[in-house]
């Protein structure tokens, strides 16, 4: 394969509870203040709904909007913003060859249909047959298309015309890390010139509150930063969409595109999350890039999830680096497949602006270096799996 090439991030689309777009995110985060969580809709659990979007700007056909559920609409919207930010929206020549890797979870169920069936089935003495008949008559035929993970990518092809290739990775936080890693590796090796990579998630829905509550504590009562949620830890499910346009430096320069940042490296790892394993993995990932890190001008954007003991283990390793740290999930919640990509987007903004928002909680430390920020190290320590570390650099 050809020698490794430089990989630039040339466009970002970001949607979360904080806002939409990098600048709005940064302005709001820099201003400080209480996170925009919702403690009513799924009480007693706290969630982070996305800000309202003017969908028509990115998904002009109402018919397209109707064929999607919220997670897809958020993702297709964010993807459109990223393409526009990179200056390639509607550029058929580039989009025809553009590759795409999406990290996606499952689509939402029709909770009203589920609840009605569960209520009514108790009057039936043939439970399975009753469910069959009700599903056949009550499910919207197109709901399936809003449930299939690969239909986020399918909708991006349809709405935005990205058709070079289309791959969808699954598996919570890890899938976002691997999507970025594979996209980076393919461009660096000359297997792709330009890749749209991203993820979207809508955790503000009952079927996912149910799924996660079955196995993981969700934050309830008083809001607390991710670092300080007690020995059991807790998540705050969120709605989030994050897309990045990544391309080879050559490809970007040829079309006159300016980089938001350089993506220097991406690592992903796996461990079984036995006590101390997240700490060990993260330390190994930091060691692997130690020689590239500029100690006086690097910062850490942490993907700490609030799950324990992983979050405490991460806090320990990050403190050892001596670098300034900010955890974003305190502000944007847990967006699973989209989380790492959202943090990459925020890392781009940190190196562009040279600033860091105010700390929140015991693991947020330090402040932006006076001489500016040359590098952002973005971690992923997912709520269950999903270990990763990326290095983003300012392009001077």
């Amino acid at each position: 394969m050809s020698a490794r090439r430089e990989v630039w991030i040339t466009g970002v689309g970001l949607v979360s509870a904080v806002g939409e777009g990098l600048d709005q995110h940064w302005d709001k985060l820099m201003a400080g203040g209480a996170p925009s969580y919702d403690d009513k809709t799924f009480a007693p659990y706290i969630t982070f709904p996305a800000v309202p979007l003017n969908l028509d700007t990115q998904i002009p056909k109402k018919g397209d909007q109707r064929q999607m559920e919220a997670w897809q609409r958020i993702g297709v919207y964010a993807a459109g913003v990223a393409l526009a930010d990179a200056g390639i929206a509607k550029n058929a020549e580039i989009l025809d060859k553009a590759d795409m890797i999406v990290a996606a979870g499952g689509g939402e169920r029709d909770v009203a249909v589920d609840a009605a069936i569960l209520t009514d089935v108790r009057k039936s003495n043939k439970r399975e047959a009753f469910v069959n008949e009700r599903l056949m008559s009550d499910l919207r035929p197109t709901l399936f298309l809003a449930q299939l993970p690969n239909l986020l990518a399918g909708n991006i092809s349809l709405v935005h015309g990205v058709v070079g290739s289309s791959r969808t990775f699954m598996g919570e936080e890890a899938s976002g890390v691997d999507a970025l890693r594979v996209a980076h590796a393919r461009i660096a090796a000359g297997q792709s010139e330009l890749t749209l990579v991203g993820g979207a998630y809508n955790g503000t829905r009952w079927d996912l509150v149910l799924l996660f509550r079955l196995g993981t504590p969700l934050l309830e009562g008083q809001f607390k930063p991710v670092w300080d949620r007690g020995p059991e830890g807790a998540l705050t499910l969120a709605a989030m969409g994050a897309f990045l346009v990544m391309e080879s430096r050559e490809h970007a320069e040829k079309r006159g595109a300016k980089p938001l940042a350089r993506l220097a490296s991406v690592q992903s790892s796996r461990n079984l999350r036995k006590a101390g394993e997240s700490e060990k993995t993260l330390r190994e990932e930091f060691d692997a890039i130690a020689s590239s890190v500029k100690k006086d001008s690097a910062v850490i954007i942490s993907g700490a999830s609030g799950a324990e003991p992983a979050t405490s283990e991460e806090k320990k390793v990050l403190a050892e680096t001596g670098l300034p740290v900010r955890a974003t999930a305190t502000h944007i919640g847990n967006g699973m497949e989209a989380q790492f990509l959202a943090n990459i987007a925020l890392g781009c903004q940190a190196v562009r602006k040279g600033t860091l928002f105010p700390p929140s909680g015991s693991g947020d430390t330090g402040s932006a270096p006076a001489q500016g920020i040359s590098q952002a190290l973005v971690t992923s320590v997912g709520h269950w799996r999903g270990e990763g570390l990326a290095l983003i650099e300012r392009v001077d």
Binding site: M1, A104, G106, V111, D114, A115, L118, T119, V121, K126, E128, A129, V131, N132, E133, L135, M136, L139, P141, T142, F144, L145, L148, P149, N150, L151, A153, G154, S157, L158, G164, S165, S166, R167, T168, F169, M170, G171, E172, A174, S175, D178, V182, A185, Q191, W206, D207, V209, L210, L211, F212, R213, L214, G215, S269, R270, L272, W384, R385, G386
Partner: protein, 427 residues
């Protein structure tokens, strides 16, 4: 040391050194090949769950693998283990529980299923109207913790990574009906980049439930030929009326050719090229001009550095839906032109049904077996040819033939298309 082998693009050559397969026809290459070349059908009346009220009551369920009470995740994982174990044993690579490379798993999206919802509803104590909030209250009970593990996307790939001892973070993926081929493609690319000498690619799907049948029925995608299960999947026939849902798995050990040769491994096939092209026409329908599918096949041939005249056999996507088969004909007739009359094209789905996420991997294994055995499995149930799609579909009976190179097509819902080009060992 021998000079390293490179392909027409200067990339490392990627060999297949191990293969495993499970379909409704049986477990393992020997059994499957025997039945595929005998023209047997694995489609049956569904017995796993009551089918009252369903429009379609037939499927290619892996009843010989299913165990009572298995959730889709557990069945799919078992299928992946069976296929992966066969493939790794054949390749002889690594050691037990230590596969020296990354893992790419094509896997169906899984979720909480109805038996679990019933259990939560019962435990909620709600006696009037049941709402999701009631289920969530019951969810805090530790007895339901397993539901979480059975319904989270990351769990099965992680279990399998642990079982096979693959390296790094396992990648699970979906590109709908092209997923199995995408898993192979990701492994191929990782080896071409020089990241690894070997990769494990598995496609597995054991997700036939009443609700999955309902979902595809509501999209009018399934055959309703319930009275004749074995005759229901009729790719390229005039009276085809939809696909038949099926389950199965296939695994391929992909390996840098030099690495395989150096350790004395048997080369089963070469993955010579892969092509992709997404479709932006419609969520479930292919572009009527066939352009994405045409580009996909052309991309695969170009990636392999070969021309249409170099292809001896097409392993069709061939789902048996009215639309796919027509569109696939348009695609192959455009790409292969006059040469098409010399190329047999058959659909394994006529016998196996449509294994969705697993199909691309299963058909890659069958393509390799076709090259190894120089024998082409038939398209069965071909009684009423469709005059609009004149193809040599290897009707009903297997055929001996000189097969040096195969293109295997996979076209997915959501417009995700992937084609693989396979050949035999390097001359």
């Amino acid at each position: 040391m021998a000079a390293s082998r490179r392909d027409s693009k200067g990339r490392p050559v990627v060999a297949v050194t191990g293969m495993g397969i499970v379909t409704p026809l049986g477990t393992g290459k020997v059994d499957n090949w025997k039945k595929l070349t005998a023209g047997e059908s694995g489609i049956r009346t569904i017995t796993r769950f009551p089918t009252d009220g369903l429009r379609t009551t037939i499927a290619g369920a892996v009843d010989h693998v299913f165990e009572q009470g298995m959730h889709s995740a557990a069945l799919s994982e078992k299928l992946a283990r069976l296929a992966g174990t066969e493939a790794i044993a054949e390749s002889g690579i690594g050691s037990k529980g230590n596969f020296p490379g990354p893992f790419f798993l094509a896997f169906p999206p899984i979720e909480i299923e109805w038996p679990q919802r019933f259990a939560l509803a019962n435990a909620s104590g709600a006696n009037d109207k049941i709402e999701y909030g009631d289920l969530v209250r019951a969810a805090t009970k530790s007895e339901f913790r397993s539901f979480y593990e059975e319904s989270k996307y990351g769990v099965v790939p992680d279990n399998l990574a642990e079982h096979f001892g693959t390296q790094g973070s396992p990648i699970s993926l979906t590109t709908a009906c092209a997923s199995g081929a995408t898993a192979i493609q990701l492994g191929l690319e990782a080896i071409q980049r020089g990241e690894c000498d070997a990769a494990l690619a598995i496609g597995a799907d054991g997700s036939i439930t009443a609700e999955s049948v309902v979902r595809f029925s509501l999209l009018s995608a399934l055959s309703t030929n319930n009275t004749s299960p074995q005759g229901a999947s009729r790719p390229f026939s005039k009276n085809r009326d939809g696909f038949v849902l099926a389950e199965g798995a296939a695994a391929l050990v992909l390996e840098n050719y030099d690495h395989a040769v150096a350790r004395g491994a048997k080369i089963l096939a070469i993955v010579e090229g892969v092509g992709e092209k997404a479709d932006n026409f419609h969520r479930t329908r292919s572009s009527p001009d066939g352009k994405p599918v045409i580009s996909c096949m052309r991309n695969a041939l170009a990636d392999a550095g070969v021309t249409p005249a170099d292809v001896d056999y097409i392993n069709a996507h061939g789902t048996s839906t009215p639309e796919n088969d027509k569109m696939e004909y348009l695609g192959v007739s455009t790409v292969f032109g006059d040469h098409l009359k010399n190329i047999p094209i058959s659909s394994n789905k006529s016998m196996v049904g449509h294994t969705l996420t697993a199909a691309g991997a299963i058909e890659a294994v069958v393509s390799a077996l076709t090259i190894i055995n120089q024998r082409i499995p038939p398209t069965i149930n071909y009684a009423v040819p469709d005059p609009a799609i004149p193809l040599d579909v290897v009707p009903n009976v297997a055929r001996d033939a000189k097969v040096r190179r195969v293109i295997s097509n996979s076209f997915g819902f959501g417009g995700q298309n992937t084609c693989l080009v396979l050949t035999g060992d390097l001359a």
